[in-house]
Every structure is written in C-alpha cells, then in structure tokens.
C-alpha cells in the first residue's frame, strides 16, 4: 500500500519535472520565428492548428499534405466555432496556428497580442441546406421566414451566425430559428438528421455533406460573404513549423485544396 503510494508520488513528480523540462526546451528552441518555409530544416515536430468548423474537410486534407511534404511533422487539428477558438487562444490554450472564419474573431486574438499580421486565405458565402426530402418545401431564402419552417442557425457571435444575419438583413426578412447552434457543423448535423427543415450554412458545408443534404442557393444580391484569416500564434513553441504551415495554406497547393472544397480566393 505504502509502496504503491510512494511510486505514484514519484511518478507524478517525474511527470511534473518532465513537463517543466520540455517547456524550457520549447521556448529555447523557438528563437527564430520568421524562418518560414525556406528554412525547411527547422520545419519539424508537432504543431496544433485551431481552425473554424467550416474548414474541417479542407484543413484535414491540408494537414495531411503538409505532413507528407515535411516528414517528421505532426499536425494536430482542432475544429470549432471561431468565436470559441478565439476565446481559447486569448485564455492561453497551447496552439500554434489559428484559422478563423471571420476577421472579427481574428481581430480579437490580434488585439489580445496573441497573433500578428493575419493573412486572408479564403472567402465563403452562405447557402441553405435542407434534408434531401425537403420536408419544409423550402425553395428560397424567403421560405425561412415562414412560421412552419423549422430553421437552425449559428449563434450570433459565431461567424456563420453573423453572416446568416447579414443575409436576412439584405433580404429584409425576419427569421425565427428553432435553435442557435454552437458552430456550423452542428447546424449541418441537425439538417442531415432531418430534425430541422432548413439550416443556413456555408456553400462549402453543403458540398462537404454530399448527398446527405440538398443545397438551395441564395441569390448573389442578398447573399453575404465572410473572409478567412490565418496567423501563426505568438505563443507558439514551434514557430518555424507554424509559419511554414501558414505559408502552405496561402500557397498555390493550399489554394487548390480550398478551391476544390468550394472556397473562393480572396
């Protein structure tokens, strides 16, 4: 009994020490921030990329391609609402790159001193997603204002919610949603499950969902777009690799993946 306890305490202490050690090594090794892709010898190790939920498919592909191009690099991706990710970054979550679905959330991070010089790498517009059977008989954006159509939207502070609000403003519609979801993929899942008649998501989400949903285009005169900025984070312990990943997303290879997913070039 006592021996077990002693072993556990020693193990915990060792863990603690190891943690401190790696922290020191990390901050010591990150003294060359602007090395970028040219200094490919520095591009190694692990990076964590926080990306908007709408980037799930494209960034998963980009992460794999980046790993293939740089053997020894491991890209860990975490997707969520840009607003939630921005909160994580400003409260000190350990991460190396932030890709937001709106400039607003990136501005929050920059204002907090957690990132500098964000670059816009893509733009996205909204589309209505309905279940394949279209139970609400939705044919256009006007139908979302009907009382009998159950609509799911994102929370206002999430980029997809803010952009959808702009669409309704342009179309001079008042839409009463049944639920305000935490991110765009939650809206999409409520549509694919058939629990709502319609959800306002990005064109890229409709494309990614394939046959699970049907897309109904929003006319360009009322549609709204959002810009996607990306930046390496100041607190990154692997700045060279973080900068290289940002460059990769902004490169021609990155643009190809994003275009295939349905994003527009800025």
């Amino acid at each position: 009994m006592r021996r077990t306890a002693t072993v556990a305490v020693v193990a915990l202490a060792a863990l603690g020490l190891a943690g401190c050690g790696s922290d020191d090594a990390g901050s010591g090794g990150s003294t060359s921030p602007s090395g970028s892709a040219s200094a490919s010898s520095d591009v190694t190790g692990q990076i964590t990329v926080l990306a908007a939920a709408s980037l799930t498919e494209s960034f998963t592909t980009l992460g794999k391609q980046f790993e293939a191009a740089h053997p020894g690099v491991k890209v860990t991706l975490s997707f969520g609402a840009s607003s939630a990710l921005a909160t994580q970054v400003t409260s000190g979550a350990p991460a190396d790159v932030f890709a937001s679905a709106s400039t607003k959330n990136m501005d929050t991070v920059v204002a907090a001193g957690a990132a500098t010089d964000p670059k816009t790498f893509a733009e996205n517009v909204m589309e209505i997603a309905v279940p394949p059977s279209n139970p609400g008989k939705v044919t256009g954006v006007d139908d979302l204002a009907r009382a009998d159509v159950k609509t799911a939207l994102c929370q206002e502070q999430v980029p997809c919610g803010a952009t959808a609000a702009k669409v309704f403003e342009n179309a001079e519609l008042t839409v009463e949603p049944v639920t305000l979801e935490p991110d765009v993929k939650s809206v999409l899942s409520k549509v694919t499950l058939g629990e709502v008649d319609a959800g306002v998501v990005y064109v890229t989400d409709v494309k990614a969902a394939g046959a699970d949903v049907e897309g109904i285009e929003i006319p360009t005169d009322v549609n709204a777009s959002t810009s996607y900025p990306i930046a390496a984070l100041s607190e990154s312990e692997n700045a060279a690799t973080a900068a290289a990943f940002v460059d990769y997303v902004l490169s021609a290879d990155g643009a190809k993946v994003l275009a295939a997913a349905g994003f527009r070039q800025p």
Binding site: A81, S83, T87, K150, T179
Partner: protein
C-alpha cells in the same frame, strides 16, 4: 493502517466517563479516531482541498462586483435562470413519480433479469451526457424511431422545445434519485414492513405508511441531488433540445455562450449557479456534512 489507536467504541467494557455532546458527535463522525492525521495523508488531503477550492476562489475574485447588477440585468440571465429552475424542478417531479417505484422494484422484488435492469437504468449515470442527447435525438427526434410516429400521427415534434429540455434533464438526473432511494430501501429494516403486513396492511399501505416514511431522508437527498444534476445539465440538453433563449437555453448553456461574447456575464452567471449549489449543500448539511451513511 497504523497511527490510529485501537477503536474505543464498542470495545465492550463500560467506561465511567461521561462525554460532552460535542465530543460524542465528533466520535460518531470520525469513528472515535485520533484528531491528528499523519503527514502522508494530510498533505495529499490538503492538495485535494486546494484543487477543489481554488477554482471557486478564482470565480469569486474575478467577478465584476461593481457592475454586477447591470451586467446580469442586461444579459439573458433571468430568462435562462427561470427556464433552468422550472425545467429542473419538473424533471425532478417526474423522476419522483416514476423513479421511486423503480427504486422499490429494484430493491424489493426478485424479478428475473433484475441485475441487467439495474445496470440499464443506472447507465445514464456514467454515460457521457452528449451521448444521451444523441440517443434521445435518435429515439424521439422527428426522424427517431418513436419520434417519427409522434410527428406523423399527432404532429408533435419534441426537439428544440422546453419539453426536450425536461426530457434530457430527466434522462440524465433520474438515476441519481433511483440509486439513492434504492440504497436506502436496501438498508432499511424490513422487519417493520413485515410486521405491518402481518398486522393486515396491504402492500400499497405498507409502501405508503411504512416504507416511504422510513426512507424519507434519502428520498429528499436523492431528489435534491437529482434536481442539482438537472440544473447543471449541458451536454444532453444542447444536443437534444438545441439552444434558444427563453425556450431551450438553460443556465449552463448561457454560461458557455456568454464566455465567448461577454466573459464578465459568464462569471456572474456562474456565480449565480454557485450560490444555488451552496444553498443545496446547506439544505443537505445534515446528510453530507455530518457523514451519515444511509
């Protein structure tokens, strides 16, 4: 282990010592052990206390006390709190009506498959709440295997309604009541029930007049525990009921969203929930703070 003197209680020999009420209670709680604790136990215990208390201190220290009222008034706190209070109370009421009989069945009958049944009904206790929410959606959603008939036959759709909130909370919280009451029923002396039955009382009369009064303290504790769990429900609720202010956005969901837009409001909303929790603990002090076992 060593360090504790041999038990003084129940050692047989009567002691010519009269203990004060306070000392008697202390011995009842600690089992008559020594007042001092050995360092290998005391130090980890203090670490545990610090770990549990420090975050709460953080909440209190960080709170924007000066404009607390304005922030709470401006946010949707009141709406969310009202929704949370009535849904968790209703969830507890439902849990009492069906959960207590279930606890009785689990404790007092020997139906075949009772062990499987007990495992099934206590599953939500250990199941991640989000999984519960998904399960509810797949059963009672508009395309769920039961929900589709509710929709087709009666035009009732449950998700995204306050009903869905109550269902999610009941699903997650009822096992707390069932487990507490079942434990009490098992520990209760069945001699009284047998005596009442021998004297001619029917089974329902025994249940009402003998069994229930015997387990009333546990019933109350289980109900409060169930209510507190329902009040704090997040995962199953946001998955099954979604989030809309006034209809399905409960306090925990409001806190979660407020953290992104208005951290000060999130801190204050959390404090409100903390106060409610403290109130629960005070209400249950006889049970938990004095270490009784039933």
């Amino acid at each position: 282990m060593s360090g504790t003197p041999p038990g003084r209680r129940g050692s047989g020999a009567p002691r010519p010592v009269t203990l004060g009420a306070r000392e008697r209670r202390r011995r009842a709680v600690t089992g008559g052990g020594s007042r001092t604790a050995p360092a290998p136990l005391l130090v980890p215990a203090l670490v545990a206390v610090a770990f549990l208390v420090v975050p709460l201190v953080g909440l209190v220290v960080r709170a924007p006390w000066t404009d607390a009222w304005d922030i709470l008034h401006g946010s949707q706190a009141a709406t969310a709190l009202r929704l949370s209070l009535w849904t968790s109370t209703l969830a507890t009421a439902i849990a009492l009506v069906v959960g207590v009989p279930l606890a009785w069945v689990l404790a007092r009958t020997d139906l075949p498959g009772l062990r499987v049944l007990r495992a099934l009904v206590t599953l939500p206790l250990v199941l991640p709440p989000v999984v519960g929410g998904v399960a509810l959606l797949l059963a009672f959603g508009r395309n769920g295997f039961l929900g589709r008939y509710l929709d087709q036959w009666f035009g009732i759709t449950i998700p995204f309604s306050s009903t869905a909130v109550v269902m999610a909370e009941t699903f997650v919280a009822m096992p707390f009541l069932v487990v507490t009451v079942e434990g009490a029923l098992r520990a209760a002396n069945r001699g009284y029930e047998d005596a009442a039955a021998t004297l001619g009382a029917g089974r329902m009369t025994v249940f009402r007049r003998v069994t229930l009064p015997m387990v009333t303290p546990s019933l109350a504790a289980g109900a409060v525990l169930c209510w507190a769990r329902a009040l704090g429900e997040f995962g199953a609720t946001i998955t099954f009921a979604g989030s809309f202010p006034g209809r399905t956005q409960t306090m925990p969901i409001a806190v979660y969203y407020a953290l992104e837009t208005d951290p000060d409001a999130a801190v204050l909303l959390s404090l409100v929930l903390l106060l409610v929790s403290v109130a629960i603990l005070v209400a249950l002090r006889d049970r938990w703070l004095r270490g009784s076992t039933v």
